[in-house]
Symmetry: C2
Subunit: 377 residues, 2 copies
């Protein structure tokens, strides 16, 4: 395939990065073929994705994978099937990239599932078998899932002072009505480009109903910002988009979650990544995000009524204790925050702010927090 | 408040329909006040929302509420609290409409929750208490939840041959990239207007990943249609939008779900409404929708491989039996379909069509089904 020169690529033809990914897959295959031909045992080196090989990088402030690798060998009865599966998946990814199509990881399971000729054995019996193989391919060739043209379900909406170009369509996020633009599952540079940004910051809201409240009050217009909801735990597309807004658009990013252990966890994953997906933190984590709220201190600070209090459960207390012990929450301000949550004995939802007034969050709460630089990092 | 003349309404001022809803709430209150002043027992008449008062209307092909009503009395120790709650909620709705704001039903719970003066008693202790009261207000004054300016979480995405005006923004659904426009929770005429439609039909897909597949293949462009995903069971916004596309745009609507009891149920709710929300079928159900697939017959018809087969569980079989007994599935073609599912012994997912080819669904499956008029109604 002929490679593009900058700006010359036709839509529907592979990008330079696509060619690099195909090359990496072909090198993986070539190594195995050469080994077989020279009478050696074909082998794939796969970085170990276990807690024992995960660490928190204090300098870069992200959770990342260590250097340990494991060998997957063809001539090894306990590994031969996985070896075959690895190449089945890698080959389908190569085809997807060449065809310029993207599919879900469930669809990849179907595409690679078939009965082996002359046997009753299936290549895969469950998606639970193919998902880890996809991760193996990702780490083996150091490519994001998105670069392999695979996606998990998308989630999240965005509006505000930004125009993007997505798959050739120019989209003005200032004119999205009440609906918002659905954040694509794949937010890589090849597919999604920033065209014009008039925003001074990004406000990320965990809950859709709070995003709706801020959008209906046109908070993003008055405050010159981009308003995003992750709709719960952030999906990969939302995380990658935020990372690009942070690094390419150089925008500060403020996060609004409920005041409870789950809210802290959502923030934590946005900021430094997760243990399970440590190998992807470099492309997903956004170490610069700031925790704007809700804080356990907000109950007194904003003289909220007791109607907002929800008693902490035993599970909440256990989870808070775990989170308190994470090295990335070691700083004094975080220990104070988590201690206040526990000693209050109650959690609070952003929705609770409506006990003050329907638009209290848009007119008072967020503006005051921003004005006072009242956030945690 | 001064009422609008057609076309004269300023944004942010109540519409004619808003005024009607406010009038209905005020009439409810006035009746109670008059009763109290004349020494009678203030009463609200509430249609009964129980299975015993639900029926399938054969002519209109929707599930609807019967005529039975219950009285909620103020001077009745078992009813007094609910009576008070009913007016608390109705009053907050009236204020929301006047302010031209919309909130979630959880936020309504917070707005109406407080401790009664001089007691330790709360107006509401759980959202599980306020949600049914909201439904009471809806049926008592015959207004949709959306007319009360309340919403449940939104879900669903749309692209295709349609331009809409939403909250004053003109939105071209032909230029939404890969993300799609998020379907608002409230899709009433006041807020969402159809500006220009070049579509010949609507294709509704249960699963987001299949919607993505069809969107990436630009199926809606080639086939001149609107492409929507409900992302599972359809939320109220998606249902209402579909109903308006059916009645106002006069478009045929084709539904694509998995071949399993859950898929049949999703279709069934779109078509004739649900027993739980029978009082809203008139504004939500779309009796004209057509079941395009997946059909249990598709396994042979499209010579699919055994890789697509997922064994029916005991629960699947029980659910299929229940669905088979619904009066709206009494026609021969439906009995045949459900029998085929059961006798196959397996269910199938739309994702399974990728075993043929990545774009088989866009290039072969859907076009052939449409060409052959191969659908159920």
């Amino acid at each position: 395939m002929a490679k593009e020169k900058s700006g010359e690529r036709k839509p529907g033809t592979p990008t330079n990065r696509d060619h690099e990914t195909i090359d990496k897959i072909q090198k993986l295959a070539l190594n195995a073929v050469v080994a077989a031909r020279t009478g050696k045992n074909p082998t794939v080196e796969i970085p170990v994705r276990a807690l024992s090989n995960v660490q928190f990088n204090e300098d870069r402030r992200i959770i990342e994978l260590g250097d340990r690798k494991a060998s997957r060998e063809f001539f090894n009865t306990s590994m031969a099937k996985k070896f075959m599966q690895t190449f089945l998946v890698a080959n389908e990814c190569r085809k997807l990239i060449a065809e310029q199509k993207t599919i879900s990881i469930r669809q990849m399971y179907y595409k690679t599932k078939h009965t082996l000729k002359g046997t009753s054995e299936n290549t895969f019996d469950e998606q639970a078998e193919s998902d880890p193989i996809i991760e193996d391919v990702e780490v083996s060739i150091d490519a994001l899932r998105e670069e392999l043209h695979l996606f998990a379900n998308k989630r999240g909406l965005v509006v505000g002072q930004l125009t993007v170009d997505d798959a050739g369509d120019q989209i003005d996020l200032r004119r999205m009505g009440r609906g918002g633009w659905g954040i694509p599952s794949i937010c890589e540079e090849d597919a999604l480009k920033f065209v014009r940004c008039d925003a001074e910051f990004v406000l990320v809201v965990e809950k859709q109903a709070i995003w709706h409240r801020l959008n209906e009050d046109r908070f993003w217009e008055r405050s010159k910002c981009i308003l995003m909801t992750t709709e719960g735990q952030a999906a990969r597309g939302s995380r990658r988009l935020l990372q690009r807004m942070s690094t390419e658009l150089k925008l500060p990013i403020y996060v609004l979650v409920d005041s409870d252990p789950w809210g802290l966890y959502i923030y934590s994953v946005l900021k430094q990544g997760s243990i399970n997906l440590a190998y992807e933190s470099m492309r997903m984590a956004v170490p610069g995000v700031r925790y704007l709220g809700m804080s356990a201190m907000d109950f007194k600070k904003f003289t909220l009524s007791s109607a907002v209090q929800i008693k902490l459960t035993k599970e909440d207390l256990e989870r808070a204790k775990q989170i308190r012990a994470y090295p990335w929450f070691a700083e004094k301000q975080w220990q104070r925050e988590i201690d206040a949550l526990v000693s209050n004995g109650f959690k609070m939802e952003l929705d609770g702010l409506l006990t003050k007034d329907t638009s209290f969050i848009s007119n008072e709460y967020v503006p005051k927090k921003l004005r006072d630089k009242d956030f945690l990092v």
